[in-house]
């Protein structure tokens, strides 16, 4: 059975101008699902009319897409909360949670600190995002939650960082090699965390090198020091965070759909 039909057969008036609409739906529901939904709506619209088609389409977009939007907003909110808690004015809260133990972060290499920060910070968005998006039953979500917990602890106790990181990595590698049901979740997990870290590292370094460069130029022109206005720094920080979040969302959704969601069988595979 052919998988497509001639262009003459695609001449139904209701389906001619729906390509942008289908593209938008595919971003939310995935290409296979969106094609089937648009086909169903087009078929039903033949007896119900164009207005019904667009009303049904709008409701479908809202009902299908609310979870994605909600997950993203929740991830941003939790990220902001943790970021706010870690601010210098609220450090007493973190200190209280740490039960008064001294903070070790200042005694480690700045490169290790940068690495820790770049891995862990995007996870504070990723963890709530994937919990709301895919649910706690998803193995990939459980891996992300475990890793977020471990890395947050490692940030607080960096002298134990190496042991924790090596343990988790070995655990994940062993699971992915010997337990088939975890192999794909580990791949999605690795891609999401890897891309999140890389995005955060590259974007944040680029922005801060930009600030350093302008500060350097400012100094060379005979001015003393350079202090970026608070608002610009705030916008830069959020631009870094949001860019990383969009990249994480994109990679996570793509990999999850490709590896962890069941593809539809076709007539050929059934036969």
């Amino acid at each position: 059975m052919p998988n497509s039909i001639s262009s003459a057969d695609r001449s139904q008036p209701i389906t001619r101008k729906t390509q942008p609409a289908e593209w938008l739906l595919a971003r939310i529901a995935g290409p296979d699902r969106s094609a089937a939904i648009m086909g169903d709506l087009a078929e039903m619209a033949q007896t119900r009319g164009r207005l019904w088609f667009w009303m049904a389409y709008a409701r479908t977009i809202v009902e299908t897409g609310w979870r994605v939007s909600f997950s993203f907003v929740l991830g941003c909110a939790i990220f902001s909360l943790i970021d706010w808690l870690c601010g210098s004015h609220r450090i007493w809260l973190v200190q209280a949670l740490r039960l008064g133990r001294p903070h070790m972060m200042l005694h480690i290499s700045p490169y290790l600190w940068l690495f820790l920060y770049s891995v862990t910070t995007p996870l504070w968005f990723t963890a709530p995002f994937v919990v709301a998006r895919y649910g706690i039953r998803d193995r990939f979500v459980r891996l992300i939650l475990l890793f977020t917990f471990v890395m947050t602890c490692a940030m607080d106790y960096p002298h134990r960082f190496t042991l924790l990181f090596v343990s988790v990595t070995l655990f994940a590698a062993a699971v992915s090699l010997f337990w088939e049901r975890w192999r794909k979740p580990v791949l999605v997990f690795a891609a999401t965390v890897g891309m999140g870290t890389a995005a955060y590292l590259v974007i944040s370094r680029s922005v801060f090198w930009g600030f350093w460069y302008f500060g350097h130029q400012y100094h060379r022109n005979g001015f003393d020091g350079f202090a970026a206005p608070h608002l610009i720094l705030w916008i830069a920080m959020w631009a870094i965070a949001l860019s990383s979040m969009f990249i994480i969302t994109f990679v996570c959704a793509r990999m999850h759909r490709r590896l962890l969601e069941r593809p539809a069988a076709t007539d050929r595979t059934i036969a």
Partner: protein
């Protein structure tokens, strides 16, 4: 999958409609079947959200059919209830039957004579 997993009312309706339709169950026919048998007219979006959620839970699977002109050349996506889906549905229906046992829903005492 956990056989004790609870199903929502609409999930049960959709699963029953899919089972009734057999090999012809896809979005349009499921909506028609639900409308014909229950008098409800669920929104297509609600049906797709439920079907996709049940797919993620492993209760249903999909297979692509052939493209048709009235669908703008798009293929139908037929739904099949998995063994886990049947188990979950049977479990939910069994719970209903247990609760109904010994009750006469048309009993005048229970409904203030409305059905007397």
């Amino acid at each position: 999958m956990d056989p004790e997993r609870t199903l929502g009312e609409f999930e049960q309706i959709v699963l029953l409609a899919v089972l009734r339709l057999g090999d012809e169950a896809y979005g349009v026919t499921i909506l028609d079947e639900i409308a014909a048998k229950t008098g409800r007219n669920p929104a297509p979006g609600a049906l797709y959200t439920t079907l996709h959620r049940m797919e993620d839970k492993g209760l249903v699977t999909f297979r692509d059919g052939s493209p048709t002109p009235e669908r703008g050349g798009r293929a139908k996506r037929f739904v099949t209830v998995t063994r886990e889906g049947r188990t979950a549905l049977a479990s939910a229906q069994s719970a209903y039957r247990s609760l109904l046992q010994g009750l006469d829903l048309l009993d005048a005492k229970l409904f203030g004579g409305a059905y007397a």
